[in-house]
Symmetry: C2
C-alpha cells in the first residue's frame, strides 16, 4: 500500500458512509433493545429470531430502516405467538420514524480527513440502503462538499464497484475504498484488483460478519479514520 | 410539439416507469381492497385515513411499497382503535411481500414503441421509489436494453430533472419526458423549459392528482403509449 501511494497511483478514493463517516449501527442496536423492553423479551432468542428474519427478508426489502422495521414487526408478532399487544406495533412504527429522523453523529476526525484528502484526490461516497434515507443523511452530514461523486446502491458486490469504476473510467488499481465492513467495502474491491482500507466500527451487524484472515496481506486495517493520512497523504 | 419534432430538436426522451411502461397502481389498489376485506372495513373512511397517513409519512418514508405497507399497518391499528387482530398485521406483511415479488405486466405496445424510438433517440428511464424494488422491476421488465441511461430518484421535481439534464449536458428544449403523472412527469419538465407527453393511466394515486388545465397548450396528451409515434418518429 505504501508503494502504491508513493507512486501516486491512487486517483479515486471511495468512502462508505454508515459507521465509516457517521455512527449508524448504534441506532439499530438501541432500537432493538427498546423493542425487547417493550415486548419484555430479555433472552438472546429474540435477537437471533430478528437476525434470521432480517436475513430472509434482505432479498426482498434490501438494506435500510424501513425493511428493519418491517422485520421487527414480523419478528415481534412471531416471537410473541401472536399475543403481542397491538399498541406495541404502534410503538415499533413510532420508533422507526424516530430512527429515520435521527440526527447525524459524525465519527471523530471525519471532517478533517475528508477536507485534507479532497484537496489531492477525487472522493466518491458509496453507500447502500434506502434511497431517500441515505440522501437525507448525506445532506444532514454536511460532508457532501468533499465528494465529487456520490452513489447510493442497493448492494455492494464486485459488479457494483466494477460498474462505478467503468462509468468513471478508473482502473481498479487506481481506486482505494475505505469502509467499516470488510464484506461490503473491502472484499469486493480487492477481488476486482482495487485497494482497500478497513476501519472496523465498534458494532458490526452480524450479517456483515465474514472471516478476513485469508486477505490479511492485501489490505490495510486502521483503528480510526484519522489514521488514514499515515497510509495516504 | 410537431414543430420541435420536425426540426429534430429532441435529443433525449425520458420515460417514467410505473404506470407508464408497466402496470403498478393496480397492485396498490388491490392490496388496499384486500386489507379492507380482512379488516371488514367497507367505508371510504379507511381509504381517506390511509391517504392521509401516506401523505403525512411521505417526507419520511418516500415512495414505494415498504412505506405503503408501514402506512397501511399504522392506519389499520389507528382505524380499528387498536382492536385489530394481531394476525391481520401478519397478513399485511405477507401482502407487502407479495407486492414486492409481483410479476411485471407491461402496458400494451411498450416494447414496440421503445424498440422503434431507441433506434433514433437516446432514451432515459426516470423512476422514483424504493431503490431495490425499482431495480428489480427494471430487470424483470426486460426493457433495460432500450435505455442508454436509467435514474432511480427519491422525488421528481424541477431540480431532479435539471440535475439529470446537466449531468448529460442536454438542454431542456432538447428533452422530451413521457409519463402518466402530470405532477411528476410533465409539470416539472415544462417548468424548466422541456417538453412533455402525458399518457394517463386508468388509476391515478390521489397524491399525484393536480389540475392540468392551465398548462393545456404546452404539452401533448395521448391515450396510449403506442400513439407516441404520431408525435415523434
Amino acid at each position: 500500500m505504501q508503494n502504491i501511494l508513493s507512486n501516486h497511483e491512487i486517483k479515486l478514493i471511495g468512502f462508505d458512509a454508515d459507521d465509516t463517516l457517521w455512527k449508524n449501527e448504534d441506532l439499530f442496536f438501541d432500537a432493538q433493545n427498546k423493542i425487547k423492553n417493550i415486548l419484555k423479551q430479555k433472552s438472546n432468542k429474540f435477537d437471533e429470531d430478528l437476525l434470521k428474519t432480517e436475513k430472509l427478508n434482505l432479498d426482498i426489502y434490501g438494506y435500510g430502516i424501513k425493511g428493519f422495521i418491517l422485520s421487527l414487526i414480523e419478528t415481534s408478532v412471531k416471537t410473541s405467538d401472536a399475543t403481542i399487544n397491538i399498541k406495541s406495533i404502534n410503538q415499533i412504527i413510532k420508533l422507526g420514524k424516530r430512527m429515520l429522523k435521527a440526527p447525524i453523529n459524525l465519527i471523530e476526525g471525519v471532517d478533517k480527513i475528508l477536507s485534507t484528502l479532497s484537496k489531492k484526490y477525487d472522493l466518491i461516497l458509496i453507500t447502500k440502503g434506502d434511497l431517500l434515507d441515505q440522501e437525507r443523511k448525506i445532506e444532514k452530514s454536511k460532508l457532501e462538499k468533499y465528494f465529487k461523486y456520490k452513489k447510493i446502491v442497493s448492494e455492494k458486490n464486485k459488479q457494483t464497484y466494477q460498474n462505478i469504476l467503468d462509468d468513471l473510467m478508473i482502473e481498479p488499481q487506481n481506486f482505494l475504498m475505505v469502509g467499516n465492513s470488510f464484506k461490503s467495502d473491502v472484499f469486493p474491491v480487492l477481488e476486482i484488483g482495487g485497494n482497500g482500507v478497513h476501519i472496523p466500527y465498534k458494532i458490526l451487524w452480524e450479517h456483515e460478519n465474514i472471516k478476513t484472515s485469508e486477505y490479511s496481506k492485501k489490505y490495510i486495517k486502521l483503528n480510526k479514520i484519522s489514521d488514514l493520512t499515515t497510509v495516504i497523504n
